[in-house]
Symmetry: C2
Subunit: 151 residues, 2 copies
C-alpha cells in the first residue's frame, strides 16, 4: 500500500492531483489508515497508470471517466463502444490540428512578408496585412522597401 505522497512520487504527479482525481470520481484509494490517510493498492496504482496513459493520448478527464467505467465493466460493453470513443477523440484532435495548421500557414505567410529588420515598423507588411480591409489576409510576398539610410 502506498500513501498519497508515495504514489504521487511514483507516477510523478502532485498529491493535489490525486485528491483532485478522487474528487472527480476517477481514482479513489481503496483504503484509509486509522488516522484517515489514503492508502492506495496495486490495483489503484494500475488504475492511475491507465489514467495517465489515457491522458497521454489526448483524452480529457471526462473521457477517461467514461473509459474507466467501461474498463471496470468490460463484459457489458462492445469493442465498438471503445473504438467509438477513440475515433471520436481522433476526429476532435484532427479538427484542432486543422485549425492550428491554418494558423501556422497564416503566420508563416506573415512572417515571410516581413523583412524583420531594425527599421521602423511604419511600413511593416505584417501590420499592413492585419490592417487591410481586404477580405483575405494577404500580405505582399515582397518585402517592403525601407528608405535607404543616408542615400
Amino acid at each position: 500500500m502506498y500513501r498519497i505522497g508515495e504514489l504521487a512520487t511514483l507516477f510523478d504527479v502532485k498529491t493535489d492531483t490525486l485528491r483532485f482525481y478522487e474528487k472527480h470520481g476517477l481514482l479513489t484509494s481503496s483504503t484509509r489508515s486509522e488516522a484517515g490517510y489514503r492508502l492506495y493498492s496495486q490495483d489503484d496504482a494500475q488504475k492511475l497508470r491507465f489514467i495517465i496513459r489515457a491522458k497521454a493520448v489526448g483524452f480529457s478527464l471526462n473521457d477517461i471517466a467514461e473509459l474507466l467505467s467501461i474498463e471496470l465493466d468490460k463484459a457489458n460493453w462492445a469493442c465498438a463502444d471503445v473504438k467509438g470513443l477513440v475515433d471520436t477523440k481522433l476526429e476532435q484532435v484532427q479538427a484542432k490540428i486543422a485549425e492550428l495548421e491554418f494558423f501556422a500557414s497564416s503566420l508563416n505567410k506573415l512572417s515571410q512578408a516581413c523583412c524583420g529588420g531594425p527599421d521602423s515598423a511604419e511600413h511593416c507588411s505584417i501590420l499592413e496585412a492585419l490592417e487591410s480591409t481586404d477580405k483575405e489576409l494577404s500580405p505582399k510576398v515582397e518585402h517592403h522597401l525601407h528608405a535607404e539610410k543616408q542615400g
Copy 2:
C-alpha cells in the same frame, strides 16, 4: 458612428464581446452619446477588424493587445519586433500541433488495433494497451480473436 449593437452586427460578434474587449483595453469607443451609449467611429471599426484578423491567425487577446500597442506607435518599433511576435506565436502553434499529432498518431494506432465489432470488450486491444504496464503504449496490430459464436 455605430452604436454597439450595430458594430457587433457588422462584424458578427456579440455586444458583450465588445464590452469585454473594452474592459480589457483592446477597443474603447471613441465617444459616448449624451445618454452614455458607446459610439464607435470608422477608426474604431478598423481597430476591431485588426483584432478579429489577428484572432483569425491564432493570436490571443494578450498578444493582440501587444500588437495594437505597436500598431498605434509604429514609428517607435522595428519590423524585427513585429516579426518576433509572429515567429514566437508560430513556434507555439507548431509545438501544439506536434503534441496533437502525437495524440492523433497514438489514437490512430489504438483504433487500428481494435476490431470495432459488437462483441464484448473483455479482450479489447485498446483497453489492453491502456492497461499495459509496458513503458510504451503499443497495441498489437492484429485484432484479437473474439470467440466464435456457436462454433
